[in-house]
């Protein structure tokens, strides 16, 4: 046993490890890229893709998602935390159960997943051309530290290496704002992410290209299609929350403590407006058919708890609409739901009833667009 810890033996192990690593690197160069096979069972619309595949801008999954949405004349719903799954259904669930709408709504959402995190995808992927996108704008992102460039959220969803790689010149105006939106990451992080990005690609040669080439059914197991069972369980409509479980005086869930709130509105910050402007222009340049959902804010709670901040949050919301108007972007105005009782679960997330009310507005818009 002691023998295995001797310098000579350890050095031999070291040689084996180094040779194995070198072999692993060289062989990876010869593994052909795996492409999703064309077959009828994969003609449907993908519901979503894994967070990591989007972060890595993994073409196998991003291409499949985008082409499947386009092929089925569906929509891709993008949003922040309010667009995450809700126990009694979110707005896209209601849209997916609506039989009058003959299209599917795929979803990508997560706290902090604002426009900036989609720039690499939109810039680098040719399949975005002609894609129909619904983008939820939550006014909470004009509040607190969210109102400024946020390195934590950025790094969670985007690799700076991929961001820089995808950052091809679009036009002078867009390029300038793109550069301004990139958080100031230190040199060490950037070098590390660049190396990590390339190691990931190398790793994918085995875990993806080689593995799926040998057994394509493994690839099928990694895909998330629309789950018809889940959709059939969802109600067609949603009533206002029960007053025993809801605080109608403050327009939040009964168990939510409104005083735990710390996101004060920052109407003076131009960061989100710049980001939104960039997204609109980028989508125009790249041929993305994007429709924004101007989300509501909890006006009743502001009026009762922090009346002094109401003008500020109103200004944040108005600024959002102003940018949309100035840039000539299509949008569905849900800000009138701000003062509707039962819509909010807390300061920034809607209830299922709120989701239902948002769905009604989107439904009208989509039906009108289809009939046009």
């Amino acid at each position: 046993m002691k023998e295995v810890y001797r310098l000579r033996f350890l050095a031999r192990i070291g040689v084996v490890v180094m040779v194995a690593v070198a072999f692993w690197l060289v062989v990876a160069l010869f593994i052909p890229t795996f492409h999703a096979p064309q077959c009828p069972e994969w003609d449907g619309q993908l519901y979503t893709i894994r967070h990591q595949d989007l972060r890595d801008n993994n073409p196998l999954y991003t291409n499949l998602l985008l082409t499947s949405v386009k092929r089925n004349d569906g929509w891709l719903v993008l949003g922040t935390s309010e667009t995450n799954a809700r126990p009694n259904g979110n707005y896209y669930d209601f849209l997916n159960t609506d039989t009058a709408l003959r299209c599917g709504f795929s979803v990508i959402a997560g706290a902090g997943r604002t426009a900036c995190t989609y720039f690499p995808l939109i810039q680098s992927n040719e399949n975005v051309r002609g894609l129909k996108v619904l983008f939820f704008l939550n006014p909470s992102y004009g509040c607190g530290k969210l109102a400024y460039s946020n390195e934590d959220y950025f790094s969670r969803y985007v690799s700076s290496a991929i961001y820089r790689e995808a950052n091809r010149p679009v036009n002078e105006d867009v390029d300038r704002i793109l550069q301004a939106n990139l958080p100031k990451l230190n040199c060490g992080v950037r070098v590390g992410e660049w190396l990590a990005c390339h190691t990931d690609r190398l790793r994918r040669k085995y875990s993806q290209d080689l593995s799926f080439s040998l057994d394509p059914s493994k690839f099928g197991e990694t895909l998330t299609w629309f789950d018809s069972a889940m959709i059939s369980r969802l109600p067609d409509s949603c009533a206002r929350p029960d007053s025993s479980r809801y605080n109608y005086a403050l327009n939040v869930g009964a168990s939510f403590d409104v005083h735990s709130y710390t996101l004060w509105p920052h109407p003076e910050s131009s960061y989100r407006a710049d980001e939104l402007r960039t997204m609109i222009r980028l989508c125009k340049v790249r041929g993305v058919d994007i429709v924004f959902i101007a989300g509501p804010y909890n006006e009743i709670a502001y009026r009762k708890v922090y009346p002094q901040d109401l003008p500020d949050i109103q200004q944040v919301s108005a600024e959002m609409l102003k940018v949309l108007d100035e840039e000539g972007a299509a949008y569905i105005d849900c800000t009138d739901l701000s003062a509707e009782p039962g819509v909010f679960a807390d300061w920034q997330h809607h209830t299922s009833y709120g989701a239902y009310r948002i769905y009604q507005k989107i439904r009208d818009y989509v039906l009108e667009k289809e009939n046009r």
């Binding site: 310098l7 350890l10 192990i13 070291g14 180094m18 070098v191 190396l195 190691t199």
Partner: protein, 398 residues
């Protein structure tokens, strides 16, 4: 674990290659120290916050000054004061009980700065500083170079969990510019890291879920079987995990040209508890022997107890292992664990006192090894479960 993310992994890899290259090209000790200091700062800022690192640096700086004074003046009082302050610093940072004794005025003033020092690696820094102070006082250190001292304290492979090196050993390997970082030593480092990676990344995840929680095994083995199996698995888990980490630290040290001391020597093959502590966490038990056990013995020998050698030994064992238990954690179960080993060593001492060692037969050797292993395994139960969980476990069994 050092390889917590890609960024850190690549930084370590790049730095190691750069440092190894520079060491073989430029044989200047000062230059090597400056480069190593840069690498230590770069890598450690991924593990602890820059503020925490800065505060630790201030503590290290003060200790350095105290060490120089001790070397010059050889003052026992100064040594006692600095050691007390250091241990107080550690106790205040690590033990909520001590923080509560100090009251709210403390938390509102200096306390918030103390608490902003992260716990990661703190106790190992403390050990190295104690070593610096005591050995400066004794005059046994072969260097007082500030860069060597700082690099010794903040050497990234051993920063988080040892092994606890000595300054003389660290200085020896750093100053030997004629010892070229040859390819074999680098490759051996890679091999050692590979061992560590296999242990911690491959074996540990397989046994950890069952080792740390006996409840997962109840459906298969019943209460007694679950507790016993989990305890046995925990013995292997803690050894494989910690020795795996040490393999990585030693391998990385080797790649940087510093031969970090070994920390384990097949501890579960020990045939008595005294032997076990010579083979388990060797650098820590050596530290305890030099800086706690021997001083306690010396202190007791100055009192009337010197006539009762067994009392002196037993008291020294109990005190040493109480300190050992308290160092491992601030909860009561660690005290029990420490006292369990203190008791074991005392009983062993009582039985072997004044007896000539016999050459053991194979059967006796195997029985003794098994018994020692079981004794240590029972100790790990105290180590693994807090008191409330221990009580639940006892209720389940009896």
């Amino acid at each position: 674990m050092l390889f917590t993310d890609y960024v850190l992994f690549f930084e370590i890899l790049l730095f190691t290659l750069l440092f190894a290259g520079c060491r073989s090209l430029f044989r200047k000790e000062g230059l090597n120290h400056i480069l190593l200091l840069g690498g230590n700062v770069l890598i450690l800022t991924h593990i602890v916050s820059p503020k925490s690192l800065f505060l630790l640096f201030i503590v290290a700086l003060l200790a350095y000054g105290a060490g120089l004074l001790l070397r010059k003046r050889h003052s026992g009082i100064l040594l006692s004061i600095t050691l007390t302050l250091l241990i107080l610093f550690f106790a205040v940072r690590n033990y909520p009980l001590v923080q509560s004794w100090l009251g709210s005025w403390w938390t509102d003033t200096l306390g918030k700065h103390f608490l902003s020092v992260e716990k990661i690696g703190l106790s190992y820094i403390l050990f190295r500083i104690i070593h610096w102070l005591v050995e400066s006082y004794r005059g046994t250190l072969r260097t007082r170079n500030f860069l060597a001292y700082v690099n010794y304290l903040f050497f990234f492979p051993t920063f988080m969990a040892g092994p606890i090196d000595t300054l003389n050993n660290f200085h020896y390997w750093m100053s030997h510019t004629h010892v070229r970082l040859n390819v074999r030593r680098m490759l051996a480092g890679v091999g050692r890291i590979f061992y560590g990676a296999v242990k911690t990344l491959l074996v540990v995840p397989l046994i950890k879920p069952y080792a740390v929680d006996y409840q997962m095994l109840i459906p298969t083995f019943g209460p007694w079987g679950a507790v016993c199996s989990a305890a046995l698995l925990y013995s292997f888990y803690i050894y494989i995990d910690f020795s795996g980490y040490c393999d990585i630290a030693i391998g990385m040290g080797g790649m940087l040209g510093v031969r970090v001391p070994e920390n384990f020597n097949r501890p579960y093959l020990s045939d008595n508890i005294s032997e076990f502590w010579k083979r388990w966490h060797i650098t820590f038990s050596t530290f305890l022997r030099i800086y706690v056990f021997k001083p306690v013995i010396a202190l007791l020998n100055r009192t009337f107890l010197r006539e009762y050698r067994m009392v002196v030994s037993v008291t020294a064992y109990m005190v040493t292992f109480l300190v050992c238990g308290l160092w491992h954690g601030s909860t009561l179960n660690f005290v029990f664990w420490g006292l369990w080993h203190g008791l074991g060593l005392s009983v062993y001492k009582l039985f072997t006192h004044n007896r000539m060692p016999k050459t053991p037969t194979l059967v006796r050797k195997i029985s003794a090894t098994l018994f020692t292993f079981l004794f240590v395994t029972v100790g790990w139960v105290f180590f693994n479960y807090p008191v409330d969980k221990l009580l639940i476990m006892l209720k389940l069994l009896f």
